[in-house]
């Protein structure tokens, strides 16, 4: 395996390798060891990264303590730490809880450290391009704004209770009293994403550069919201009230289900159904969509085109992944530009039609994905400030 991966067709290097191997038994043995599938299997085990991250967090905690308490405490901490640990037979102290329990015994207040751990996913920044994150602003009916990424807890506004949670986003308590039609709006900027839950239990994930308006209390005969951009919906079942998404010039009528609506491409609305049943209503016509189908509404032509698809690539974003299945580079870069909030410039227009596949956690740096694409195609990328320049090699 080693030889295959490293020396391919390069004869000169191949000879150098053979020479090195012949130099001594030790070299040969080393080569054999590194050549074995077993060596590779162990090397690619995902546990290495996990261990490294755990150990780093542990190290960071000790460093913070030393910074705060001064060096004199350091030896004491290390000794006490080891002593207590051996006594309790705790094998690998990587979980926060275990370490907190131990350090409390030394009389150091550690609670504040748990929250301040550097939880940044991904590597250090080379340029200033960051992957997206939770960013959203809530607009109340009065026009008052609430920056959702910065607050948590319960807010009582306009007669309703709004909960903001770090993990689950915004959620509304069901409203029972009669209320005047109060409409709220959540706006997610470029480079953002946000999750929310309406009063009826419907969950909505919003992607970058998207916004959704909804009444705090739904009408009696229907639940209607208006979307711009892209969102993934998990609509709670309510047979008496169909759920309706108004997007651009068309409507998606939902009968209790999971689907993705994307209106980020100009003049087109793409709806992909995961589970359940929806109706696509445009120009007074309704077309029923079945699971694993995609409907593309073309505003100009005014028609809806349905096809069977592998839905993974359309809904992966909601779980934090990019999945590209033989997609055109143009479409890929469009999505990346929204999430990373960057501009794209094509040195050669044709390069947009290069088709690529790949998937990646989208909280990683953009360089990872671009680098991968460079290796598997004829395309090359250059990052200049906040612009990505795309060209053929």
């Amino acid at each position: 395996m080693l030889k295959y991966f490293t020396f391919g067709t390069n004869d000169e290097e191949s000879q150098l390798l053979d020479q090195w191997r012949r130099e001594s038994d030790r070299n040969e043995n080393l080569f054999q060891e590194m050549d074995s599938p077993d060596f590779w299997e162990r090397a690619i085990d995902p546990i290495h990264k996990k261990m490294q991250e755990e150990q780093w967090h542990l190290l960071q905690m000790k460093i913070r303590i030393i910074k705060d308490q001064g060096e004199l405490v350091r030896d004491d901490i290390e000794k006490t730490y080891k002593r207590i640990r051996r006594r309790l037979y705790i094998r690998r102290l990587s979980s926060v809880a275990a370490v907190l329990v131990l350090l409390c015994g030394i009389g150091v207040s550690v609670w504040k450290y748990a929250g301040t751990w550097d939880k940044s996913k991904g590597m250090e920044q080379i340029e200033s391009i960051r992957p997206g994150g939770k960013k959203a602003v809530l607009y109340l009916a009065s026009g008052e704004t609430i920056p959702l990424a910065k607050v948590t807890g319960e807010i009582q506004k306009e007669g309703t209770v709004i909960r903001v949670d770090e993990k689950d986003g915004v959620s509304y308590d069901p409203v029972t009293e009669e209320k005047e039609k109060i409409v709220h709006r959540i706006v997610v900027p470029r480079g953002g994403e946000y999750k929310m839950e309406l009063g009826d239990g419907t969950k909505i994930w919003l992607n970058s550069d998207s916004e959704i308006s909804y009444p705090v209390q739904f009408a009696e005969d229907k639940r209607a919201v208006t979307l711009r951009g892209e969102a993934y919906f998990e609509v709670s079942k309510d047979e008496s009230r169909p759920f309706i998404v108004n997007v651009e010039q068309m409507t998606v009528k939902v009968y209790g289900t999971k689907f993705n609506v994307n209106s980020q491409m100009k003049g087109i609305v793409e709806t992909v159904l995961v589970e359940g049943r929806v109706g696509i209503i445009a120009d007074d016509k309704e077309i029923i969509l079945l699971p694993k189908q995609k409907a593309v509404y073309d505003q100009e032509k005014g028609d809806v085109y349905v096809q069977n698809v592998d839905i993974t690539s359309y809904v992966a974003w909601k779980d934090g992944n990019f999945v590209f299945d033989n997609a055109s580079l143009g479409a890929i870069m469009d999505k990346l530009s929204l999430w990373y909030d960057v501009d794209v410039f094509y040195g050669n227009d044709e390069v947009r039609n290069v088709h690529l596949s790949g998937d990646m956690v989208r909280y990683k740096e953009i360089q990872n994905l671009l680098y991968f694409f460079e290796q598997i195609s004829d395309v090359k990328f250059e990052i200049k400030g906040r612009t990505i320049v795309v060209n053929y090699k």
Binding site: S24, I44, K49, Q52, Q367, Y371, Q375
Partner: protein, 185 residues
């Protein structure tokens, strides 16, 4: 754009560099120390101490090669010290360190670096490629992988091709790297 150019100066007092170097060398140093200590828990303890001291000293190094040698020698010395202390405490007759030959040290460094590099390059692959590749290394056939992951056989071939292509490109300078390591140490 993504060059492997060595940094001119390695400055450990810079927290960003400190973290980057930790991430870069951890897997290799762990693999390396395991040769001496054999116990994962002890190795983690040792590396914690080692990096804590590195952080406290906040030293700078002229170049990457000098830094690399410093790291490996430092960890090795710590390992040998630990073994000697343990031996003294337990009064055993086994002798780990004193007849170690310099060549052994170099081989171990090379092996650890290669191990870590394979790990790093592999981590850069997309998830689906990784999944397919791991199963493939276990000896599973394309059909078995297709059944397990619920994807088409063509997709599997595509993933494997992409992965091979990528790994090859990234590792092609490996021999040069290995020779460089041997000459520096």
């Amino acid at each position: 754009m993504f060059s492997d150019k060595s940094i001119e100066v390695v400055d450990l007092s810079d927290s960003k560099q400190f973290k980057a170097n930790y991430e870069r060398y951890f897997t290799a140093l762990k693999h390396f120390a395991m040769h001496y200590l054999g116990d994962e828990e002890m190795v983690f303890d040792l590396l914690q101490d080692f990096f804590l001291k590195l952080w406290e000293k906040g030293e700078s190094f002229k170049n990457e090669e000098v830094f690399k040698v410093y790291l490996y020698r430092g960890v090795r010395n710590n390992c040998l010290t630990y073994i000697r202390d343990k031996k003294r405490a337990e009064k055993r007759l086994e002798d780990y360190g004193s007849d170690e030959v310099e060549e052994d040290f170099v081989s171990r460094v090379i092996e650890s670096e290669v191990f870590s590099l394979i790990n790093q390059v592999f981590e850069e692959l997309p998830e689906s490629c990784k999944r397919v590749y791991r199963l493939s290394l276990e000896g599973k056939s394309h059909q078995e992988i297709a059944d397990e992951l619920h994807i088409a056989i063509n997709t599997i071939k595509r993933h494997k091709n992409n992965a091979n292509h990528y790994i090859k490109d990234r590792l092609e300078k490996l021999l040069v790297l290995m020779m460089l390591i041997s000459s520096d140490i």
